[in-house]
């Protein structure tokens, strides 16, 4: 057993965060060096641990808050799935953000809170007890707020206010759920769940509902999603963080933990709370897609698309069969890769070409080919076109639904795929098939610059493609999700 590695994994983002806060605004090189070093170190540690966990090693770190109340950082396969995603995307987002903000103001503050967000996300992933989970979950809320209001204009401040109203109310409900449960059972540890069966069924259902309500705010489940589209007022790297690296993912991950590690699948089935959650998730999937269809602003459309896509993860978890679970877990990674690509691209379109509305994309495929290719690959993946990652998700979710005997889910998946096509294909069409302004070659080169801005979406798009193509490998997202399910939930 190794106790140092989980702490180190947390420190690779926490230390850069604290150092960055105290750097002067002018020391740009130091700031970039510290953040990139942290990101590379984290990725390195993740690679070491991926190998270790595959071989069955344990990594955990315990620390007593008060007698009986423990902080537990634990690296299991599920934690590592999330950490790998956020470590990989953190590195790319840092590179992207450095290029994006060149010459901006308040950057020490920005990168400090950015790294703190990643530290909080890592903590959420590694949490081994409910209280640890809550602590990092709140740290995430608090460290995201300064990023949402980063621009400091009235619109961002309003978005920040809305974000806090939703998330803090959510966390109060979550705390209520945790304290209520723990006052009956004592502190809850994920790896050694206490037997909840001796408790009253109705109370348990109520507590479960409180958990979903509390965590559902970050996962943007309908009707708790209102903050997400408004938060688009924030700069593009922040959107990437909210939608792919940290926030909505933390919500979805939390719901998976609650279903599988706090209550356990068997109890969730006995209580009959899985199916209602699947209904809500399905409704959110369709609702988000319909709302996305109505948006004319690129980032707004992407935001509603996230509302829809994140609920795939929750749907998979709620159906609670082996294949559905694999589908949900793998989508945690797949959605992250595809959605971050699209937000990177949207940021490039907005910053380099001044395009924020869908109509503005006309003819951009030839003026900004790399960006447009990356965007198109991700969009096709979202629709579920093979062999891109999104297809794998939908395939597993479909099989999982049949396995769980819920045939209606197939209709939801099909409907959602149609809607996805309806709101993403017009973008691809405009990019490639609609004539835009006349182009000059030199102009095209000038638009797709600097490399640090263009490379990250290309890399993530390629990763999304590879995750689909190489899904058969053991270390692909699918392979890893299968390992989690085989090892932990259906041995």
């Amino acid at each position: 057993m190794n106790t140092a590695l989980p702490v180190l994994l947390l420190a690779t983002s926490l230390v850069p965060a604290l150092v960055t806060f105290f750097l002067r605004e002018e020391s740009e090189r130091k700031r970039n060096a510290v953040n990139l070093a942290g990101a590379f170190a984290k990725l390195g540690l993740v690679v070491v641990m991926l190998d270790g966990v595959r071989r069955g090693e344990d990594y955990e770190f315990r620390f007593a808050f008060v007698p009986g109340l423990e902080m537990l950082l634990q690296v299991d396969a599920l934690a590592l799935l999330f950490v790998t995603l956020s470590a990989f995307l953190w590195l790319l987002t840092t590179i992207y953000a450095i290029a994006y903000f060149r010459g901006g103001s308040d950057l020490s503050r920005f990168f400090g809170f950015f790294s703190l967000c990643v530290a909080a996300t890592t903590g959420i992933a590694l949490s081994g007890t409910l209280i640890t989970f809550f602590i990092f979950y709140e740290l995430l809320t608090l460290s995201t707020w300064p990023l949402v209001v980063h621009k400091g204009d009235a619109k961002s401040l309003a978005a920040g206010r809305r974000y806090l109203a939703y998330t803090l109310a959510g966390s109060a409900v979550l705390l209520l759920a945790i304290v209520w449960l723990e006052s009956m059972t004592g502190p809850v540890e994920f790896a050694a769940p206490s037997d909840l069966r001796r408790l009253d069924d109705m109370t348990l259902r109520f507590v479960f509902a409180l958990f979903v309500l509390g965590i559902g705010v970050k996962a943007a489940i309908f009707p708790l999603h209102g903050w997400l589209p408004t938060a688009m007022a924030a700069p593009a790297p922040v959107s990437a963080l909210l939608h792919a690296v940290a926030v909505v993912k933390a919500g979805a991950f939390g719901i998976v933990r609650v279903i599988y590690d706090v209550f356990g699948i068997a109890l969730v089935a006995e209580l009959g709370v899985g199916l209602p959650l699947a209904f809500v998730a399905s409704f959110t999937i369709l609702y988000g897609s319909v709302r996305a269809l109505q948006q004319r602003d690129i980032k707004k459309r992407l935001a509603y698309s996230t509302v829809s896509q994140v609920s795939y993860i929750i749907l998979g978890a709620a159906l609670a069969g082996p294949f559905a679970t694999i589908g949900g877990l793998v989508h945690l990674v797949h959605q992250g890769l595809m959605k971050i690509t699209m937000f990177f691209c949207a940021g490039i379109f907005a910053e380099r070409a001044g395009i924020t509305s869908i109509d503005g994309l006309a003819g951009m495929g030839r003026r900004m080919p790399w960006t447009a290719i990356a965007f198109s690959v991700a969009a096709l993946g979202m629709i579920g076109v093979p062999p891109i990652a999104g297809f794998v998700t939908k395939w597993y979710l479909g099989i999982g639904a049949l396995q769980a005997g819920q045939t209606w889910v197939i209709a939801v998946l099909a409907g959602s795929a149609l809607l996805n096509a309806a709101y993403f294909l017009p973008l691809i069409y405009r990019l490639w098939y609609q004539p835009g302004e006349d182009i000059v070659r030199a102009d095209a080169q000038a638009l797709e610059r600097p490399l640090a801005l263009i490379a990250p979406p290309v890399v993530t798009a390629a990763a999304a493609l590879l995750a689909g193509l190489m899904a058969g490998l053991a270390l692909s997202p699918l392979g890893w999700a299968t390992l989690i399910v085989e090892r932990t939930y259906w041995p």
Binding site: F65, V66, S105, I131, I135, L176
Partner: protein
Amino acid sequence: MIAVTACLVLPLAAALAAIPLGRRAPRLALVAAPLILLAALAVATEIWRTGPAQLPVGGWLPPLGIALVVDGLSAAFLLTGAIVTGAVVLFATSIFSTPDRETRAGFAFWPLLLAMWGALNAVFLSGDLFNLYVALELLTLTAVALVALDGRRETVAAAIRYMLFALFGSLAYLLGVTLIYARYGALDIALLRILAEPDAPTFVAAALMTIGLAAKTALFPFHAWLPPAHAGAPAPASAMLSALVTKASFYIVVRIWFDVLPVAGNEALAMILGAMGVGAILFGSVLAIGQERLKLVVAYSTVAQLGYLFLMFPLAGSGGEAQPWAAGAWNGGVVHALSHAFAKAAMFLCAGLFAEAIGHDRMDGLKGVARTMPLTVFAFGLAAISLMGLPPSGGFTAKYLLLTAAFAGGNHFFALVMLAGGLLAAIYLFRPLERAFAKPAEGSDITPIARWRQAVPLVLAGAAIALGVFSAVPFDLLRIGRADAAQEGLE
């Protein structure tokens, strides 16, 4: 234990010496403060090693003589008081030191501050009800004088109002003490614990003392004096008043309820205290939201936060028999008092720095200070986290313990009030923070503040956070000398 004597004698001697020293008093305070801090540390380590101690003054044992008593609770308050006061001394040297001439405020401040420190230590170390009264009176006198320090008409009026409430409190307390003496012929805490019986005079005495102390603590509805007094005083004095002076009377209530007269603890009286606490939380928070001056926001926040402290009485259960969750409630209340001391002192010092930099303390002036005074905003933010009861902070640990005790004891209503109080605190604390993160207003000009001065509140706020992260340490300290309740820790 020479250190105990030093804790009493050093500050009082320094206070006396400060009067003739005049403008050289700050230098004396800078020498005395570390010594007193060291003495407090020595006391804490001593009882950590050897357990609680009783020191008969002059060698006369109670009931003839009077005794000083040190246990975990007194050591924790002694140490917290020393850290906060030490920071305030350091902070105040930059305000109340005019080496070239003598000012009235500068002349009066130092003796008053040092005498206040001595009075606080006397409260925390007294083992005798009448001694507590004397210490409390000295404390009140210094506090009232500090409120009136700048001599403006409003602050003098606030000071007089404070004086009236405090006198009412003292009289009620003294009447209770007289009743106790008439009934038992003893005032020593340890003796009374053995002698006390649950009869009418004891109950009336306990009620009188509690109500008197509640008035001194500014518990709702006796809170009206607090906001103008705490907001009107100079920032270092406000920090002392909110952080420590209110805690001294609370400390005596805790002693009376749990150590002196546990038998007199009455369900109805506990519920009344709880109801007053609920009123304080809701009323104080709502009023804090409406304030347009930062210092008043912080002062009303104190009214609200003091409410949480008094929830510990109904939550711990009463009637002398220790409930299984009583330890949680007791620890929660005490940790709340300690972390509030750090956080509120930090917050008042921050408010003072903001006012100094922008020239006034209206909220609008805060626009953009996150860019110009990042360290102070960071300190304010950390203190705010603890006051909102969000993790990781002492405020959160306290709230978690109180919430768990509320659920375990079936007091769900109190739990809901605490959660609501956290949300309300978020509203009134994010209002100034939001302004801080807004774009600076055109042409706003600020006086630069030295970095070391900004670091002082940062250290205090950091202590409030550390109390949550490393809460095992204060817990071990607090349980020293507590035979029953605190030993059990959490279930």
